[in-house]
């Protein structure tokens, strides 16, 4: 309950801030940043939100189900153009995803199958140090 109150409170704070900013930054993203700062500085104890946040994040994909369902009739209404629409989104997403992964993994010198086992054992450490 307290976790829900804190999370909703920070979403509301983010909403207020998003109204003041000239760019379209969503309230939820601002709320995430504000809460991260508050937790980091110890203004809010991690124990207040930890269990609730873990629960919500474990079920994050569930909260997307209605959005995916709502998208299906919109996509089918595109008729003959649906295939090209999906193809543009799929190809550009794959290209961006592999680019980002490749860059963060360290480019050519670090991306090699023989490095991978060690990197996988070391959460968020690995290549690049």
């Amino acid at each position: 309950m307290r976790a829900a109150a804190v999370l909703l409170g920070f979403e509301a704070l983010g909403y207020v801030l998003s109204r003041l900013l000239p760019w379209p930054v969503p309230d939820t993203v601002l709320g995430m940043v504000l809460l991260a700062v508050a937790l980091n500085r110890g203004w809010i104890p991690l124990s207040w939100v930890q269990a609730g946040a873990d629960f919500l994040l474990r079920w994050l994909a569930l909260f997307f189900v209605p959005l995916v369902v709502a998208g299906i009739p919109v996509l089918t209404a595109l008729g003959g153009r649906a295939a090209a629409f999906v193809a543009v989104v799929a190809v550009s997403t794959a290209a961006g995803l592999f680019t980002a992964g490749w860059v963060v993994a360290g480019g050519r010198e670090n991306v090699a199958p023989n490095r991978t086992a060690r990197d996988a054992e070391e959460p968020l450490g690995g290549a690049g140090r």
């Binding site: 940043v33 991260a36 980091n40 994050l60 153009r81 995803l97 980002a100 992964g101 996988a120």
Partner: protein, 218 residues
């Protein structure tokens, strides 16, 4: 009526998630959605009525996004150590996604649909205002961002692994930057550390896409 579709959605998704195996991770979401859409058609339920019935689920997307602060704070030292690379990776991923979407929209003759596709890499609450600013259709923009999330979450971890990229930080940045919320959910299912950096990458990619797309607003 409302409670029934809400319960069916939760039970179906929960069941599919329990049945997931490592090779099928990420499929519960699209499979549940297609099955539910079939069910809505069989029972003659209009999509708007289903959206209203499941409003309680959509509602929690907001607090859940705020909640990404928790893994972010917990894994902040590891992320901060490789901060420049994370920034460059997010920028490169967002630029490539947006640039290729623009190029392919023109090449494959999408016509005015490009206005709804261009910001697809950004998370939905950022992408939809951008679609509106470009003069696109918000419903199509929402579909594009959902598809983006599904594509990234389904091909991401396996594809990156096949490229020799097992590093959780790299996979997290890739999933968050290229496929926003659904990609971040997928990263969280892999590990909290991967989810933490994915949530951050999602937020940063939203800013990068905004900067790239806004000049084309009309």
């Amino acid at each position: 009526m409302n409670a029934v579709w809400l319960a069916v959605t939760v039970l179906l998704f929960g069941g599919l998630r329990r049945a997931e195996r490592p090779w099928s991770r990420g499929w519960a979401l699209p499979v549940a959605a297609v099955a539910l859409w079939g069910g809505l058609n069989v029972f003659g339920v209009p999509p708007a009525a289903y959206s209203a019935a499941t409003g309680l689920l959509t509602f929690w997307l907001g607090p859940a996004t705020v909640a990404m602060a928790v893994p972010l704070v917990r894994h902040w030292p590891a992320i901060a150590r490789r901060w420049p690379r994370v920034l460059v990776g997010v920028g490169a991923g967002a630029a490539v996604s947006t640039g290729i979407a623009a190029l392919l929209s023109w090449w494959w003759g999408l016509g005015p649909l490009w206005r709804s596709v261009l910001p697809h890499t950004a998370t939905t609450p950022i992408a939809l205002p951008l679609v509106a600013a470009l003069g696109g259709t918000p419903a199509l923009g929402a579909v594009a961002t959902v598809l983006t999330g599904l594509v990234g979450s389904l091909i991401g971890p396996a594809g990156l692994g096949r490229m020799g990229i097992q590093d959780p930080l790299a996979q997290g940045v890739a999933l968050g930057a290229a496929s926003s919320g659904i990609g971040t959910a997928r990263a969280l299912a892999e590990s909290p550390a991967m989810g933490a950096v994915a949530g951050l990458a999602m937020a940063l990619a939203g800013l990068a896409v905004t900067a790239m797309v806004l000049p084309w607003a009309r």
